[in-house]
């Protein structure tokens, strides 16, 4: 049997490929993984939502959060997806999403000027005597009380995901009973006064 083994060290083309893919060129370096926020306009209907969700499991992509709702055009839905990966993976996510017959528009808004919001409900155990302390804390986040019982409070907070994270972090000091997050919704910002 004849065999040949490859030498070590990267050729210039191999370096180009790794950099283009967002992979490290050092043997034990880390790939640069980034979180991306995508907005996708899809046909209305379960079939379309199914196909988008299915794509992530079929192709082994990461999916951190999904939110779906009506878009301006009643026959469409706008989805906001949060995914992580290196450049090659994100490129694949975008192109595969685009390939679905049910998607009308796919946009990676991560590096565009965009607005991101998330809504969160947090239920905390809280006796009558503790209420004013807790309400003092949540006021700083402009959270509102949406339900109250003799021994619990439920807050609603809306804002960029970082604010929601911070709010949930603060609530950890108390006895949190339940958390429900909507997942992000995102939209490109229209700029009125560009120079």
């Amino acid at each position: 049997m004849q065999t040949q083994t490859a030498g070590m060290g990267l050729t210039p083309q191999q370096v180009f490929r790794k950099q283009a893919a967002g992979e490290s060129i050092h043997p034990d370096g880390q790939d640069v993984l980034q979180r991306h926020v995508l907005t996708v306009l899809v046909e209305n209907g379960l079939g379309a939502l199914n196909r988008v969700a299915n794509l992530f499991s079929q192709r082994g992509f990461h999916l951190e959060s999904v939110s779906v709702g009506e878009a301006k055009d009643q026959s469409l839905r706008r989805m906001t997806l949060v995914t992580t990966g290196n450049d090659r993976m994100i490129g694949q996510v975008l192109r595969q999403l685009n390939n679905l017959v049910d998607t009308i528009e796919v946009e990676d808004v991560t590096h565009l000027d965009h607005i991101e919001r998330e809504l969160c409900l947090v239920q905390v155990r809280c006796s009558a005597s503790e209420r004013h302390v807790l309400i003092g804390v949540v006021d700083i986040f402009r959270a509102t009380v949406v339900n109250i019982t003799p021994d619990s409070l439920t807050f609603e907070v809306t804002g960029p995901p970082a604010k929601v994270n911070a709010f949930i972090g603060m609530m950890r000091d108390y006895d949190v009973l339940e958390v429900a997050r909507s997942g992000r919704v995102a939209m490109r910002r229209e700029l009125a006064f560009e120079h």
């Binding site: 049997m1 065999t3 490859a6 050729t11 083309q13 694949q92 192109r95 390939n99 017959v101």
Partner: protein, 599 residues
């Protein structure tokens, strides 16, 4: 519903009821500006679409379509296959050899699930199919009704798209869309699920002449800037190499590719699916690359400075360990599917578009090149390790493939199964025309060849090239039932069984990588008598056990014109497929047959 109970109570009224429903049906079609039942709309739509042949199998959910077919005598031919998987592969063979969309019609539940392998196969190999599956009536969907199966759910990740018809008024336009999506862009399978009530309900019939689907589009011409860049890269390169895949054949680009390669003196390697896109008897051809590609093709890949990928998808059976593949090459990548470009290897010059149009745009921009030094180097590799085999009086599969090539001069359509037979069929036939090599590459479906060859023969409608189906003794049994269909239709298939009494390809891995532990791959005691099996199906059966009988066996087979011939060749079981890049290894670690093996 009420009709059914009447039937049960008064069975003698059966004929009368049928007649009166027929009369009602005809009345229906006359009044109301030509209302038609869903079943008739289905048939008229297929006719309007220009469908020539449907591979199908009836059942409760689609009985209405079969009944209507019986009454209307449609312009297309219906072939009753003997297993729905065989039907899908037949449709694939038809589609790959004609370039048209293949059509399958099956009932709900088991009829539909039997198609899953064929649908997955078509998805992996970009084959245009429309598969119509029956479904339980709309109001029973989700109730675990008799023979219900959520086909849309089951096939979601193996279809290009799918439709569930929920309104009979959408039936015709859905069929139009299905054929359009299946056949355009990067082709693929589309499933159309037809609830039974949709086939019984009525609507006016209008088959649309055009389609618009707002979420579906594909690029055709390439970006002129990118093509200019590609031409410059080609001009600058010293050791360029065309890496040609199945997309070239799909787009009908074989001719323009051949012209450009010859004009620029650039050598060509093809993938398994690219075989036939460039004549392998041309001195510029280095044959197939990849796991079982030629030594010289893989050497060329490892040394080229410019790889021009034309409708190829950088599959792992081609690249081996991807980090070490084509280490010195800049890459021009032409493909119609944006998700295929730079998926596995980032391209220096991506060109999105239909490769026929892209190559036609490129053609006027390229100049003849002097590649003499590069070709001399390639010829050295070619003589270092030519594609050859041992001639020692034992019956070896390679010699049989060569004899088939000599018999036909390469003017034949060869449909291979999966395993060693597939690789020998790829390596030793010398393909010269596009669409003459058909195989299951991406999914690697054993049992593909026989029904697919049948589909090819149906597509040729009696004329055309001889159709040769090459099989192993394992895979041929996986859809052997279709032999009866081929016989019933008097198809003159030449069915070759390379009987090595083993699941040969698995045995090869066991020998090389698993300490010669032949776990569950020995078929010698369980194989049937293939000659008698052929005869039982109404075919001619021939057996050959010695190399000196190969020619006579083939000659005898070519004398038969009115039915399939099965040629069983009792080949030696030790023969292995070489060269080989072991799974997961780098292309430089390619193993070749040892000296004694060759001479």
């Amino acid at each position: 519903m009420t009709t059914t109970s009447t039937l049960v109570e008064r069975p003698t009224d059966l004929r009368k009821t049928q007649k009166s429903s027929e009369a009602a049906y005809q009345k229906d079609a006359r009044i109301g500006g030509g209302l038609m039942t869903g079943a008739e709309i289905f048939i008229r739509s297929l006719e309007a679409e220009g469908v020539e042949i449907v591979f199908g199998y009836p059942g409760g959910a689609v009985i209405g379509i079969y009944d209507t077919m019986h009454r209307l005598n449609p312009t297309f031919k219906h072939v009753l296959v003997r297993h729905e998987q065989g039907g899908t592969h037949a449709a694939e063979g038809y589609a790959k050899s004609t370039g048209k969309v293949g059509t399958v019609l099956v009932t709900s539940g088991p009829g539909a699930t039997n198609c899953v392998t064929g649908i997955a196969d078509a998805y992996m190999d970009s084959i245009p199919l429309v598969v119509f599956t029956g479904q339980v009536p709309t109001k029973l969907i989700g109730n675990d009704a008799f023979q219900e199966c959520d086909m849309i759910g089951v096939t979601r990740s193996i279809t290009k798209h799918s439709f569930l018809v929920r309104d009979v008024r959408d039936l015709a336009s859905t069929i139009k869309k299905a054929y359009y999506i299946a056949g355009t862009g990067r082709p693929g399978p589309v499933v159309v699920d037809l609830p039974k009530d949709m086939l019984m309900a009525s609507a006016p019939f209008h088959y649309p002449t055009s389609v618009s689907i707002r979420g579906y589009s594909f690029v055709q011409k390439g970006n002129a800037q990118q093509i200019k860049l590609a031409a410059e890269m080609i001009q600058e390169s010293k050791k360029p190499l065309f890496y040609v895949g199945g997309g070239t054949i799909i787009s009908g680009a074989a001719e323009v590719l051949t012209r450009i390669a010859r004009y620029t003196n650039i050598p060509v390697t093809t993938t398994l699916h690219g075989l036939g896109s460039f004549p392998e008897n041309d001195p510029l051809s280095v044959g197939m690359l990849g796991m079982h590609g030629t030594w010289f093709a893989n050497k060329a890949v490892q040394n080229t400075d410019l790889l021009i990928a034309v409708g190829a998808r950088f599959d792992d059976r081609v690249t081996g360990k991807i980090e070490a593949w084509a280490p010195h090459a800049k890459i021009i990548h032409m493909d119609i599917d944006p998700a295929c470009i730079s998926k596995n290897v980032p391209a220096n010059c991506p060109i999105l578009g239909d490769v026929k149009l892209v190559l036609e745009q490129l053609e006027p921009l390229v100049e003849p090149k002097d590649t003499t030094d590069w070709m001399v180097q390639i010829e050295k590799w070619r003589t270092e390790c030519p594609m050859d085999f041992k001639r020692d009086g034992k019956l070896r599969p390679q010699e049989i493939i060569r004899a088939l090539r000599d018999k036909t001069g390469g003017h034949a359509t060869v449909v291979t199964d999966v395993g060693q037979n597939q690789m020998w069929g790829a390596q030793f036939f010398t393909y010269i025309h596009p669409r003459t090599h058909i195989t299951s590459g991406g999914l690697g479906t054993m049992g593909f060849s026989l029904p697919a060859a049948m589909g090819v023969a149906f597509g040729q409608k009696g004329g055309g090239l001889p159709v040769i189906s090459i099989n192993g003794d394992g895979g041929v049994l996986m859809n052997i039932q279709e032999l009866g269909v081929a016989a019933a239709h008097k198809l003159p298939l030449k069915v070759v069984i390379l009987n090595n009494s083993y699941l040969g390809m698995v045995r090869q891995w066991q020998e090389l990588f698993h300490g010669e532990r032949y776990s569950h791959t020995d078929l010698s005691t369980t194989n049937p008598d293939f000659v008698r099996l052929a005869e039982a199906f109404g075919c001619v059966g021939l057996r050959c056990e010695r190399p000196e009988d190969i020619q006579a066996t083939i000659d005898a087979a070519w004398e038969v014109h009115d039915r399939p011939v099965v040629m069983e060749f009792k080949v030696i079981m030790e023969e292995k497929v070489f060269p080989m890049v072991p799974s997961g290894a780098t292309t430089d670690e390619m193993i070749t047959a040892s000296e004694e093996d060759i001479n």
